[in-house]
Symmetry: C2
Subunit: 168 residues, 2 copies
Amino acid sequence: MKLTEAKQHFISSWGAFGTHWGINRTMAQIHALLLISPDPLTQDDMMEELNISRGNTNMNIRELINWGLVERVLLSGERKEYFTAEKDIWKVVKQIVKERKKRELEPMLQLLDKLEAVEGDKRDKHVKTFVDTVSSIKKLGKQADKTLDTMIKAEESWFVSSLMKMFK
Amino acid sequence: MKLTEAKQHFISSWGAFGTHWGINRTMAQIHALLLISPDPLTQDDMMEELNISRGNTNMNIRELINWGLVERVLLSGERKEYFTAEKDIWKVVKQIVKERKKRELEPMLQLLDKLEAVEGDKRDKHVKTFVDTVSSIKKLGKQADKTLDTMIKAEESWFVSSLMKMFK
DNA sequence: CCGAATTTTCAATAATTATTGAAAATATAT
DNA sequence: ATATATTTTCAATAATTATTGAAAATTCGG
């Protein structure tokens, strides 16, 4: 397979992959493109490679910057802005985990805390099932939260080798 | 907070949560409803509780059954079908991980294998960056795949206590 | 400060995805 | 077998989400 074709495959399947994870296609594709680009790219480069409009490109680049996955680069002597993505995949994964934890897991745990304190007699099976379900989700969620915190701090080498031994 | 209100909150936020994970709102809400229901429910029960149409209810129940999260229950003397959800959250998580691994991670790893074998001179930085990116994603993906396999087999008690020690 | 280059915004539109509801198919009791 | 209850399908529609493109805002060199 030629590089051009391989790049197309990579970008389009990264985009499709993203849609399964609540990330929009274009955002994932821009990210994919930057991941495989040795040098920083401009908005125009991305528009051309991915055949998307200026507005779409711009909004999704900003979103990737918010996620901490892409950053602006200033190239001296150039008027245009350039962008580059973190290439260390372990760092990328940690960054995504960190953001999703903050945006989704933490608010969910806060809600569960409130819901667990529902009024009512636990001898009523409706109350009991509700409280039991909420409590068990909360328990697992809290554990996941701690685990992810540690993961976020970890080095890849440590992570891989520890897990290899642990889950052999 | 009263039970009725708490249930509403739980169902609607479980639905919103689902949409961040590529699961449609209704499917997540039906699942939530079944999780907190002490007894099996019929399609009509769900239609009424969630204010959704028969067709929508039916399609999403079947989808939940495909995911292995819900099953039919036959109640003797009843003409209607009843449905119930697995209540053990650890089993639920394992089932979801198992399915998503099969549906998303494994096909991605297969693709990466092919893309890694791209033609071209690795002294060309475009080729090099492409191959390096693909390889490192593949490496991490393969590790995740193994780790998840072990997790799928694990008992919750084992999982929680091991991780507690590991990630103290 | 001026003017050109560049970036950003956002209302309009397109594309995608979810939902309805009624008809068809299936199952069951008598 | 027939009538009735129940489930399933799916074309039509609604709702949501993504994308465009042109106008406005900003930046920056001279």
